[in-house]
Symmetry: D2
Subunit: 404 residues, 4 copies
């Protein structure tokens, strides 16, 4: 392998960029892809980069990496720790860190392209390398699609990708069917009519309306979703009023919805909308509630057949012990948008990035949750080796399974 | 007085009749009125009787008595106790008793007409004696109005009437403004969609809908009615389902609303309708709730000026100690329909019917509620004397105040 | 096979008996077992029968069948349809039908014992054949244990059994881990203090208490059980009050709980108890709620290793197509009590009993739920052949896997 | 009258002081009282001042004024508007205004003492003039009592006082029995256990607990207080959580309770405490809720007999049109503490301070609420004349009624 993976990684890690601001990262990516001989298009969906490696007849495989960092102050103490800052959507100056490991994803995908180029005599078909912006906002993949991704690059036969996590380095987590949660963040504004606390009859009390909505929302999971399905409706915040004797004019709820199939997700969203509208009507509210979706990830559903096929390739390459079903993952991913837009199967796996000994010790002690920093933690720090090499190989193995 | 009040009373008491079945009673009334020389019309609003005593120029005064008994098994042990039976609206054979004292009302009004006829030289004007059916159903007064009461008889200048209660015999309870509660009985059917208890997601659970409605209904009095107003919303019954593991198709609530002004009553009714509709919408109910009004009494509001005038006449006749403000009365009356239809003032008072010594003893002991049988009790038994004479005199005094 | 399975089956089907009244059935069973040379004990746990077939050294295998019918009026139109009647626990005369297929279970277990006896030269060990009463009440298995089952018969190394269902005849449904739901029927009495509907302040309103409890119970599944677990809390009935203007003294709820692990079941029960107690305290209730458990099935959890071993034997005998994972089953079974008391693995499977062509047609049409009568239906009618033979063979194959 | 009321008033109005910081005001008061020949004690209960005017044998009458201003930025535009600032209990620098008219109360009481001194030959007895701090906090009157008020001054036979309001200047509002509301401000902290929004089963969700508490609190007024009583329970604020997908550890409610009798107030407080405790138990909360009382005004109940006597004196002095029953007042007052500590009757009245023409116009237009600035408004500005003179005369008339 000609590329120095560690050098690429530590540079990216030192210089993380927030969603849709991945200009430096995209430049590095584009330079490497160009150098490797791919046809490159940048600025897709803002800062996305697409490289096409056409290598004769055969299937087309899309490999995807995401590029953005998070507004987190790094606390790893690593020599290559980030001190970068960025500008949040609110215009605030914030620290930035690759706290979710997208630097691993970029590095491994560059490495995989490098390997596939080097080995191009042994396969035929087309590889589309997609480096997307703004996964953390849940919108980057769709932004690339909307900006003509599949006009700039051939429509693939399969979409493949990976996410580094605190599983033991050298292992892969792969699960057929629903894998990552669909997640929606909703803000619900409930409108009443304020007034003096001693004269509720002149008001429409939004505090009572909010309470009734919250109680009713409990019925969504309890009554409207099959017990064998997996769904969560959490009201994480409720705020109304400033003073005990003044009835405020409105209340605001923050909701988090989780689901693992589009059907359940639609049912959750419809139920929330129906309930807040019905409760507002029951309250005689002077205005309909406002339901705003802050972010929205659809559930990631790995295609069962394609996952079985890819999993078999992994087991052949890494042994049976190297691949495990990690169960349902509560995190979310926007990669499904790439497969959905193309109408093709998706296979997305977890790439182990944790020191296996540390993992084993924490597992034995029952302290995985507390001892192992997970994604989004200021202390999240993948073990570089063999994680980077393994991530490259996983992409190559998976891609080769689908190429001729 | 030519009439034997006690004989009339004991005969009526022995032979009570249910609402709209007061045929025998109406016959007795009509015979007496005819004998006294009044112009009589019977069958008004079913079994109602109207007698008009025209006595020259002057104001017209309407005096009202109600005639119906109740489906109660008498337990007074009196020699003239009822053993009568009747047919309930459901077609059931039931015992009947004058448990609410309407026999007193009829007797006293006949006595008052007798007295006014005897004394006709001393006054001028017109007296309209109205004996109405079905006060217990809340519909008899309106039925007479709808059946042309004010075509058969002149429109009055004031409506007067009385109700016997367990105040001390010889006293009168009179209150300006809101006096008797408006009362509405509502049946609310909430529609869901039934199914197996293990699969709530295939259903719309009417049990949860009913619970949410009940909780929400608490906000009507707590939030929508001024603290200085008087209102009650009681859900007296809730029924749904037959088996713990079958989600039923519907739930039924029985509601009782009480209020003392038309404005509050309207607000209660509107709030109930709004809440059940809103909650059904929040539940995704397959059909709108059905709200049926079983009976409906408007609040009895005594005209303040007319009440002051009548009260002054009572005090002149019976002394200051003989007239008291009984406070708000939780019972209901349908006599307001007679005044409302005529657009004239109403003055309606309580006629004491309890043995004063027994009353005093129970009052002193704090056992009024338990020791003194009140209206609708199987043991309700007014003290005949002086109650009958006093009831006659109260009607005459009040009528004379308004006649020339 | 010496036994005439069809004759035994049709006789049992014609003569179903209610729970704990399986006297005739038990007699037939005991006669057959005795004739087959087993050591037999009857009257265990009421009407249970145990037969022990000791055949040299080796493991002990318990094979279980349940014997009771249901109070259902048969509507199959079969020549051997039941016209039997029985006496319900309430003392009522009711129709009886083998609507849940326990006649299949008894017949097959007799057939399996017959086959094992005939073939005893080829295996060694001990077979314990348990014919239990009252599975439908959820108490028969425990009743046999409590009555000394494991004193009368050797403690087994594994408990095996089967349930006929509308899967295609000739197939077996087997699932490792949680399989049949734990189910509890609870009656909750909530105590308030009654009074007149116009004076709620003199009462503790049990209708409002019931509503608050119902709303709160929604939070059990929504908040207290992991989204990845399977649980249902249904309030199938709520009853309080007789009249809209009388606040009743109590309210009664009927609850159905479902779960698939003992941990979740315990959590559900604890949450229900905690919520009704807390809500009663919040209401100022004059007495603590009464929570009565009507029936209680623990979840049936197939031992993963034993199930894998048994499933392998099935696949070897019937082919891969003959064994499928039926998913979580919402029905319940009391057989776990036999394994729990012995502290040994349980393997319990579904025995297909439906005409495969009819099944396939309904499956294709998406009308399985409506077209195929399932257990407890008045039209439930297993296809006799090959169901009976297959049920015998399944028991024999499973038993032989565990015997030497 | 020797004192220049307008000069005193405008000086006080220009120099308002916050609760317990009424040093300048107290100095002015003490100087005047001393000059008028009273025995003066200052620093009672912090900044309170007491002057005793002993004038021979006879009853003792306590006249009370309160001295503190409010943290309001004056917007009256008056030449004597305040530009003063003060330090809030939180240590913040805030504007200060006599927005509640306590400057009127001080001025009028000084004027009344002046008049009583001038006219001392015509009466005998003792007048105790109490100028109290911190009425706005609800604690100043009690602070003076606790600091020995009735050791420094003779225990009175009656407590008299007045509050300026936007009734027409020249009129008095007086109501026997319950007059000003009892008011309590409560902060309720509900404790749960936080966690990730996708794993509610690891948490005790305080948002749901808060909602259930709010719904339950609606039942206090709806079910626990008689419909004929007057009470309000308002949850004016609810706050929990910061992010939609994080379940917070606690929730905080701000409650305002209002009542007009000690019995109702006690019932409200007990119900709130019972409900939050019960709901926390129902939720399985890890800690009991904290209920903190922020301020607490008892209801002001005018002694019926003493009020009748004082009212008769007012009517004799000012005519029947000059005195009216203002109905229940939703505001609160801490003056009852002075009467309660002495165990004597209280008579407290409203002093009209609004331009009668402006009042009449707003009343006719139905815009009293919007057009007439009321107490605590930045635009509150009593009409100086005849308000000051009338306030002096009302105190003198009332005091003389009770003095010999």
């Amino acid at each position: 392998m000609a590329l120095d993976l560690e050098a690429i990684y530590t540079d990216l890690h030192r210089n993380p960029e927030l969603s849709y601001a991945e200009h430096r990262t995209a430049g590095i990516v584009a330079d490497h892809l160009t150098a490797l001989g791919l046809e490159v298009r940048d600025g897709v969906g803002g800062t996305g980069v697409v490289g096409v490696l056409a290598n004769g007849d055969g299937p087309t495989v899309l490999l995807r990496a995401d590029m953005d960092g998070l507004p987190v102050q790094e606390e790893t103490g690593l020599p290559y720790a980030s001190t970068a800052r960025g500008t949040s959507p609110d215009g605030e100056d914030v620290p930035v860190m690759h706290a979710c490991g997208h630097d691993v994803h970029v590095t491994c995908l560059l490495g995989a392209v490098d390997a596939l180029v080097a080995d191009r005599a042994s396969w035929s078909g087309t590889v589309v390398a997609v480096f997307q912006p703004a996964e953390e906002l849940g919108t980057g993949a769709q932004a690339m699609v909307d900006d003509g991704l599949y006009e700039h690059a051939p429509r693939p036969d399969v979409v493949l990708g990976q996410h580094v996590t605190p599983l033991p380095a050298g292992t892969i987590g792969l699960r057929p069917g629903p894998s990552f949660a669909g997640a929606d963040a909703l803000t619900v504004r409930l409108f009443g009519r304020g007034g003096h606390g001693s004269r509720p009859e002149t008001t429409v009390d939004p505090v009572v309306l909010a309470a009734s909505v919250i109680m009713r929302l409990q019925t969504v999971v309890a009554r409207e979703i099959a017990a064998t399905e997996t769904a969560v409706v959490t009201v994480g915040s409720v705020h109304a009023g400033t003073k005990e004797n003044i009835i405020p004019g409105e209340a605001t709820l923050g909701l988090s919805l989780r689901s693992y199939t589009p059907e359940v997700r639609e049912r959750l969203l419809a139920a929330v909308r129906r309930i807040v509208a019905g409760e507002a009507a029951a309250a005689g509210a002077p205005a309909e509630p406002e339901v705003t979706i802050g972010y929205s990830f659809q559930a990631l559903v790995n295609d069962p057949d394609a996952t079985a096929r890819t999993g078999a390739a992994f087991r052949a390459a890494f042994g049976d012990q190297g691949v495990a079903d990690p169960g349902l993952i509560t995190g979310s991913e926007d990669v499904p948008a790439l497969a959905a837009a193309a109408g093709v199967p998706l296979v997305y796996w977890l790439l182990g990035g944790e020191d296996p000994q540390r993992f084993a010790a924490a597992f034995a002690a029952g302290t995985l949750d507390s001892d192992i920093p997970s994604n989004h933690s200021p202390s999240f720090a993948p073990q570089l080796h063999p994680t980077l090499e393994h991530g490259v190989e996983a992409l190559v193995v998976a891609a080769r399974e689908w190429l001729d």
